[in-house]
Structures are given as structure tokens and as C-alpha cells.
């Protein structure tokens, strides 16, 4: 190799600090600054001997029980999510079949649904009066419902798998679809059986993607709030729930801040472990085009397996959502014919309420925030992922890598109060600015973008780019014709995550909002907080509209191709 070729490796050409400039500034301004201010303020409220009191509470059995439970449920939820997600990723990664895009889009819908609505779906499906129990009671001639789902540990795990399977499906599925099948084929030719090939060849190659998605799923479950509260019931509390209780109900800010910092430290440790692990396994692999790696479902065996997987995904992920859709069309009396009255009511404002908004306005607000979040998260995430994808990381890269995950592991209540006390003076007087909503969404979406882009960027063979450079391609041309096609799909995955995170996020309780411009989840919660069948029906109708819009958005993204490059 001559010296001349080296600069063509684009990663090493741009210095790290330049790539980190914007992401680090953003994190500093909208994460560390607010967090520091609220922590200072919280600890300043400790008076005299209260510090020992704080320590007493902190080492109380309640807190250690909460910490233990938080870890336990996150660990089990992640394992279960992988158990469902990996076979699904195999299906999506390795096979071409009819309706694949629709199915993949459908599996992403749970991610945006408000917890209270999903809980209602699970109640209708698995609750004491739910379909499953009714059917079982009829068949088995039972007096009481056989399945105790609601307010159980199983409900928390199930809901977490329901929400987060899409993370594994997308990140691992995308990566899998790009693995060169020649390696596996070689192993098979050399006499390894199916399982041995999977265990010794495929899984090790997939590790970067599996690790990245597991980390994201784990942190999501680790900071779970709504699912634990609504479906787990009063017997279970995570750190996030305890922080909310200490902050809002008891106004014990010092303890709440301590717990928030504890949560952040746990996240940091996890992420450091993760980065160490992936550093070792993130080797460039030979990626290939989809046409080569994906095959149609031809053998009977693959058809049956795929069939089982598809039916399972449909039943598990779609039926609770479908039951909501059904509710939005059914009248209060069990026997009454389907009705559109709830949808009609959404468009009316009989009390002339000042804060009434038509569903189209709320959708517009939600989509607008979603779009800004995608732009911000990709704009910040791409340079960061770029910096992290190179082979030899600088010290700066190594420090910032785990740090950028911290917003995911931070209590929304604490951060919301942080915004309130930190961003209160010009030029950063953003406390009441609508821009704070997509900024908060970006803090959550940004780590997702980085995590889903880095494995793809890291897997680009320097050989390819070098060859192109030797053949006289300009750096820009290399980017356009080598990098973009290779990471195009990963970019799309990242954009989809940013978009769905924004659409589904219910940040109203931690932020300050102008009631004239609510997002769809905010309107759904408003409706659900009021008695009356019409209010409930409208909440179901608006949830259905949210589902359908999200599905439409994801289908659009499925068919969208990056620039004019397409997939090669």
C-alpha cells in the first residue's frame, strides 16, 4: 500500500473534535446544564442534619428493593425481547416474502402508542373480562377467569416485549440482511450443520447489532415508567416511578435527585461495559447486497417456520392494537351495530372550549415535532456515529461514546424540572418555547440514531473505499457511491426511530406546553381523564387515527430510498 492511498479513508481525515462539536454542544446545553442546575437546587434544599436523614432513606429496604426490581425486570424483559426479536430479525433479514414491508411497518406501531391506550388494549385482550379469558371460561366451563394478567409481573414483561421488539427487529434485521451469505454457505459446504453454522458463524457476526439493540432495549426497560405504573399496578415500582413519587407527591427533591443520579450512574456503567464489549467485536465484515443475501420462502420447512413467526407477530403485536380499533367503532351496547359517532365527535366542540383542537391540528403538531426531531437527531447523530465508527478511537471518542447514552437513562421528571430552572434567562429562555418539545425528543432519539448507525458505518470495508480511491474516485463520489448505499438502510432505520420516538413521546407532564397546540398523545390523555362513554370512545378513535397515521408514515419510509442511489 502506498502512502498516497491513506487519506482516502475518510474517517481519519476529519478530526474527531470537529465531528463532536455539535453533538457535544447540544448535550452540554440541553442535558448537562439542566441536570447540574436541578441537582444543585435540589441538594441546596437539604437543611442541617437532613443529610443523615437522606442517607437513612437511601439505604432503606424500600430503595434497595426498588433498585433490585428495576434491574430484574429490565434484564428479563431484554432477554424476552431478544427471544421474540431475533427469530423475527432472521425472518426479515434473510427472506423475501409478500407483505414483508407491511408486516415490518406494523411491528413498529406499538412503539408510538400511549401507555394508557396500550393498557386498555391489553385489558380488552387479556383482562378479567377480556376475550382470552371469556373464551377459556366458556371452553373449560370455569366460574372465574383463569388468566390473572393485569397487575402482574408478567404484564410488565409482556408490555415491554410488545413495545421494544421492533428495536431488535429493525437493528438486527437490517444488519442480518447485509451479511454476506458466502461465509455461511462455506461453513455448510465444509460440513457444519445448520445450528453449528448459526452458533459459530452467524451469531458472532451479528454480535455488534445484537449488542446495540440489547443495550437500547435494556435502558428503555430500566427507565420504564408508564408500563410499570399502569399494567404492573401498585405492587411494583422502578427507580423512575420512585423518582416521580418522591418529586411530585412528597417534594423530597434531595432524595429524588440522588435517585436520578444513581439511575444515571447505572446507565453509565452499563454503557461503558457495552462500549468495551463492542470495541472487541466491531470488526468490519464483508457486507453484501440484499439480492444476494435474501431469498424467497421456497422450501416447505422455511415456509412453515416463517408462517409460525408471522402469525405470532401478528397475534402478539397487532391484536391488542386491533382491539382498540374495534372499540373505536363499537357502540356502548354490546349488540349495537358499528358506529362512526366517536370519530364524528372528535370534529365537534359543543362546549366551545378554548383548548379544543380538531384531530387534524393535533396530528399536524405531532408530525411537525416528529419532522424536527428527525432533522435534529440525524444532524447530531450522523457526525457522532461517524466519529465512533473508525478503527482507532481518540480519547475524546472514548469518553463521549458512553456519555451520549445518558439522556436515555435519565428521569424525565428530573430533566423536565432541570429545563425549568436552567433555561430561564435570555438568550436561552426556552422554558415556554414550543421548540423545547422536539429538543427533549431529540435527547432520546439521538442515542438511538448513533447506535443504529455505528455498526453499519463501522462495517464498511476500508478496502472498498481504497479501491475506489485508487480507481480515481473523489471523496465525494466515494461517499455517494460506496458509503451511502451501504448505510442508506441504516439511515432509514435511524430516521424511523427518531420519528416514532417523537410521535409517541408523552412529554407534556415534564414540560410546559401551550394548551392550544397539543400533540396527539396529549389530546388522548385529556379525553381519557374524563368520565363518559363519549370521551372514552373519542380517545379510542384518536388512538386509531394515530395508529393508522404512524403505519402510513412507516410504509412511506419503507418505500423511500436514499437519494437516487436506491439499493444496489
Amino acid at each position: 500500500m502506498t502512502k498516497k492511498m491513506k487519506p482516502s479513508s475518510l474517517y481519519s481525515k476529519v478530526p474527531s473534535y470537529l465531528l463532536w462539536l455539535l453533538p457535544a454542544a447540544f448535550l452540554g446545553m440541553f442535558f448537562f446544564f439542566p441536570l447540574t442546575r436541578i441537582s444543585q437546587l435540589s441538594f441546596a434544599r437539604i437543611e442541617g442534619k437532613a443529610l443523615t436523614g437522606l442517607w437513612e432513606v437511601f439505604k432503606s429496604p424500600t430503595i434497595s428493593r426498588v433498585v433490585g426490581f428495576t434491574f430484574k425486570q429490565a434484564f428479563l424483559s431484554t432477554i424476552l425481547t431478544l427471544a421474540v426479536g431475533l427469530p423475527g430479525a432472521y425472518l426479515f433479514g434473510k427472506f423475501q416474502f409478500k407483505g414483508k414491508r407491511l408486516l415490518r411497518a406494523l411491528t413498529g406501531v406499538p412503539f408510538v402508542m400511549p401507555t394508557l391506550v396500550v393498557a386498555a388494549g391489553f385489558y380488552a385482550f387479556l383482562g378479567p373480562n377480556g376475550w382470552v379469558n371469556e373464551v377459556l371460561m366458556q371452553i373449560l366451563k370455569l366460574e372465574t377467569p383463569p388468566i390473572q394478567f393485569v397487575n402482574s409481573f408478567a404484564a410488565i414483561l409482556t408490555a415491554h416485549v410488545f413495545y421494544n421488539t421492533t428495536i431488535v427487529l429493525r437493528i438486527v434485521g437490517d444488519y442480518w440482511s447485509r451479511l454476506d451469505p458466502q461465509l455461511e454457505q462455506a461453513a455448510r459446504v465444509l460440513g457444519a450443520n445448520r445450528w453449528k453454522t448459526l452458533w459459530e458463524i452467524t451469531l458472532p457476526l451479528l454480535l455488534p447489532a445484537i449488542a446495540a439493540s440489547s443495550l437500547l432495549v435494556f435502558i428503555f426497560d430500566f427507565t420504564s415508567f408508564g408500563v410499570v405504573l399502569v399494567l404492573g399496578g401498585p405492587l411494583f415500582a422502578t427507580l423512575e416511578v420512585e423518582i416521580y413519587y418522591q418529586t411530585i407527591s412528597l417534594f423530597n427533591l434531595p432524595l429524588a435527585a440522588t435517585l436520578s443520579l444513581l439511575q444515571i450512574v447505572f446507565t453509565l456503567i452499563l454503557t461503558i461495559l457495552y462500549t468495551r464489549l463492542t470495541r472487541r467485536i466491531n470488526q468490519p465484515v464483508e457486507l453484501s447486497s440484499r439480492e444476494k443475501s435474501q431469498r424467497p420462502l421456497t422450501s416447505p420447512r422455511s415456509r412453515i417456520l416463517a408462517g409460525i413467526m408471522i402469525v405470532f407477530l401478528l397475534v402478539f403485536l397487532i391484536s391488542p392494537l386491533a382491539s382498540l380499533g374495534l372499540k373505536s367503532f363499537s357502540g356502548s351496547d354490546p349488540g349495537s351495530p358499528p358506529t362512526l359517532s366517536f370519530y364524528r365527535a372528535l370534529g365537534e366542540n359543543p362546549r366551545e372550549s378554548l383548548f379544543y383542537v380538531p384531530p387534524t391540528t393535533a396530528l399536524g403538531v405531532s408530525l411537525g415535532y416528529g419532522l424536527i426531531t428527525v432533522i435534529l437527531a440525524l444532524g447530531l447523530g450522523l457526525p457522532a456515529a461517524w466519529a465512533l465508527a473508525k478503527k482507532n478511537l481518540t480519547l475524546l471518542d472514548k469518553i463521549l461514546d458512553p456519555v451520549l447514552m445518558l439522556p436515555l437513562g435519565t428521569s424525565a421528571v428530573t430533566l423536565g424540572l432541570g429545563f425549568l430552572v436552567a433555561l430561564d434567562t435570555p438568550p436561552l429562555n426556552l422554558r415556554t418555547s414550543p421548540l423545547l418539545v422536539p429538543i427533549a425528543h431529540t435527547l432520546v432519539a439521538f442515542p438511538f440514531v448513533v447506535r443504529s448507525l455505528t455498526p453499519a458505518l463501522a462495517s464498511i470495508q476500508p478496502k472498498l473505499r481504497q479501491a475506489a480511491a485508487v480507481l480515481g474516485a473523489s471523496p465525494r463520489r466515494i461517499t455517494r457511491e460506496i458509503d451511502l448505499p451501504l448505510i442508506g438502510r441504516a439511515l432509514l432505520v435511524a430516521a424511523t426511530f427518531a420519528f416514532t420516538i417523537s410521535i409517541g413521546e408523552f412529554g407534556a407532564s415534564s414540560l410546559i406546553t401551550r394548551p392550544e397546540y397539543p400533540t396527539v398523545p396529549v389530546v388522548i390523555y385529556r379525553l381519557l381523564s374524563r368520565p363518559g362513554a363519549l370521551n372514552y370512545g373519542q380517545a379510542m378513535a384518536l388512538s386509531t387515527i394515530l395508529m393508522v397515521t404512524t403505519l402510513g408514515g412507516m410504509l412511506l419510509m419503507e418505500y423511500f430510498r436514499v437519494g437516487d442511489v436506491g439499493e444496489f
Partner: protein, 345 residues
């Protein structure tokens, strides 16, 4: 250079022109919780009367809103804060977020609502947290509708009740305080033991209790902790017009807890005189009569007239649990902890 000069002159002129218009409305900002709602015409009336633009900020549920007002008191977000209730009143007063204002409208309000005798927080509305039951269930099952807290521990009513966790839900806390008011601090935990033995179902939030567990909405339990106002709202927001409420509230003496909501002028506002006007307006019959249909709570002003549906279906308890804001502030944590130990462990 020349062009810049002209531009600058134009800009100065424009700014002067802006300043000169006397019609520019002033801005009054009202900070409130996320259940706040009001009719457009009611706000518009005040705005034209006073040449003011009233802006509302929603800052989360009641507890969150009070915390945010307290944390931003050095640099307030608004001129007026509405929505602190009697369970959080002590926190607001201790944090000293309000200025004193003795509105002349107070004389139209029953003094029992005026819990803050220093006139920093003025009462606006009240709502009662009461047991609700589905009427048809008790008719079909030939069972007398519940009428007292004792009924709930009667074996005939086994497994019929859903309540909310007082740590996470405000009606849940209200019901806990109802039992403390009724059985006293020495007896309430014993009562809860019996409730547990009788199969009480506990969930974390009102939405799950009312829309998933309560039999009126397709759940299994015909008794639920909700609001005294819920039955008339089942009529007002029925899918098809109803001529009778499908649910009813238990309003026997001591079985309900009264939540009163207050408004106050935030410390250090530059718009004191406008803020006073807004508070007077909120306490006047024009605004007060608009409250029930928007916020599901009821006016404290004696001169406000209720709509017919409420006169027909609303039952207001004569005697509610008697627990002062100071007692709540002093004991909230202890009560919730003791309850958690006794009921959930």
C-alpha cells in the same frame, strides 16, 4: 453605507410606530394544571373588557404544577397560578409563591371554602371524591346499592370494589383520607385490612380504575372510587342520549373527600392590577358558571347557577371527611407509607 443608514432610519421609525399604538393589548399569563379548560367566549369577554391577551401555560398534573411554581419562584413563569388544591395547599403556602390578595368577591363565597385565612390562595371550585357504583349491577343481582364505608367490608360486597393507590393517584389519596377521617388515625388501617380480606382491587390510576376495572366501562367491579360529578357526566357525555344516569355516587355523611382548588397572584408579578382583575373574574358568576361543563368541578360562588343536568343528577354530600391541609402536609408521607406497608406488603 448610505443604504444602511436609510434602512436604520426606517427601522427606528417602525419601532417608534409600534410603540405609539396605544391599542396594543397587554399580556397576562396564567399558569395552570393540565385539566384546566374554559369556554372561548368567557375568556374573550375578559380580554376585550380589559384590552388584554390572556395566555395559558399547562405545566402537568396538580402536584407537578405546584412544584414548578415553587421551583421557578425567583423568576416566575406567569402572573397568576390556578389549580393548587387542598392536598397541596400547604406546600404552595410554605414555598411562599403567592402574594396576598383579599378579593371583594370573597363575600359571595361560603367561608368554609376559604382555607387560607392569609388570603394568598383564594378558592375557585370544589369537587368531591366519592364511591361510584353501576346501578344496573345491583338491580340485576338483587343487592342493595352500597351506602356506607361499612358496606364495603360486608361479605355480600366481596370483590366488587376498585380503588386507586394513594401514592400515585389523587382520588386514591382522597379515599385514603376519607377512611382516616371516618375511622380515625387509630382505626383506618384495621379497616383497610378488612377491605383487603374482602377482595379490594387496587390500581395505580383513575383511568385504569374507571375505564378498565369499573363494570360500567366493561370491567368486572361495580363499585369504584371516582368523583361525585361522574354520574352527571355519564349523561352529558353518553354516546346516545340517556334519560337517566347509569351510575350513582354514594354521598352518605363522611364517605366523600372534598377537593377545593385555589388561585393566587404569583409573587413579584409586574402585572399586579391585571392579575387582581383576572382573579375577580374567575370568582365572578360569569366564569364560575362555565366551570362545571369544562372542568367537571363546581363553583364556590353562591350566586353561580348550575345547569339542569347537574341539578338533576349531581348529589353533593352534606358532610365530607374533615382533614385540614396542614394535617395532610404533615402526614402525607407517613400515611402513604403506613398504608403501603399494611395493604401492599
Amino acid at each position: 453605507m448610505k443604504r444602511t443608514g436609510i434602512l436604520l432610519a426606517g427601522l427606528v421609525f417602525l419601532m417608534a410606530a409600534c410603540k405609539a399604538t396605544p391599542e396594543e393589548p397587554r399580556i397576562l399569563t396564567v399558569m395552570t394544571h393540565d385539566s384546566f379548560a374554559v369556554s372561548e367566549s368567557v375568556v374573550a369577554f375578559f380580554e376585550t373588557q380589559n384590552n388584554v391577551d390572556v395566555q395559558f401555560l399547562e405545566v402537568g398534573d396538580t402536584g407537578t404544577a405546584v412544584n414548578k411554581a415553587a421551583l421557578s419562584k425567583e423568576n416566575p413563569l406567569a402572573d397568576v397560578f390556578y389549580g393548587v388544591d387542598n392536598t397541596f395547599l400547604s406546600r404552595a403556602l410554605n414555598e411562599d409563591i403567592f402574594e396576598v390578595y383579599q378579593s371583594p368577591l370573597l363575600k359571595e363565597i361560603d367561608p368554609v371554602f376559604v382555607l387560607d385565612k392569609s388570603y394568598r390562595a383564594l378558592p375557585v371550585d370544589f369537587g368531591d371524591v366519592c364511591l361510584n357504583y353501576q346501578k344496573s349491577y345491583f338491580i340485576e343481582n338483587n343487592l342493595a346499592a352500597p351506602d356506607s364505608l361499612e358496606d364495603l367490608i360486608d361479605p355480600d360486597y366481596q370483590g366488587l370494589l376498585t380503588v386507586q393507590n394513594p401514592a400515585t393517584s389523587s382520588p386514591g389519596l382522597a379515599f385514603l383520607m376519607t377512611t382516616i377521617g371516618y375511622y380515625g388515625e387509630d382505626g383506618y388501617l384495621e379497616y383497610w385490612d378488612e377491605l383487603v380480606a374482602n377482595g379490594v382491587n387496587i390500581v395505580n390510576d383513575w383511568e385504569t380504575a374507571y375505564y378498565s376495572a369499573f363494570s360500567q366501562a366493561g370491567g368486572t367491579d361495580p363499585i369504584v372510587v371516582s368523583y361525585g360529578s361522574s354520574p352527571p357526566f355519564e349523561v352529558l357525555f353518553a354516546e346516545e342520549p340517556l334519560d337517566d344516569a347509569p351510575t350513582a355516587a354514594v354521598t352518605s355523611p363522611g364517605t366523600c373527600f372534598r377537593q377545593i382548588e385555589f388561585v393566587g397572584i404569583l409573587n413579584g408579578t409586574p402585572n399586579r392590577e391585571l392579575a387582581e382583575k383576572w382573579i375577580d373574574y374567575m370568582l365572578s358568576p360569569e366564569f364560575q358558571e362555565d366551570i362545571p361543563l369544562n372542568m367537571y368541578v363546581f363553583p364556590v360562588n353562591d350566586n353561580a347557577v348550575l345547569e339542569e343536568t347537574f341539578r338533576k343528577y349531581l348529589e353533593v354530600p352534606e358532610v365530607t371527611a374533615d382533614i385540614s391541609p396542614d394535617m395532610i402536609a404533615a402526614n402525607r408521607e407517613k400515611w402513604i407509607n403506613d398504608w403501603t406497608e399494611a395493604v401492599l406488603r
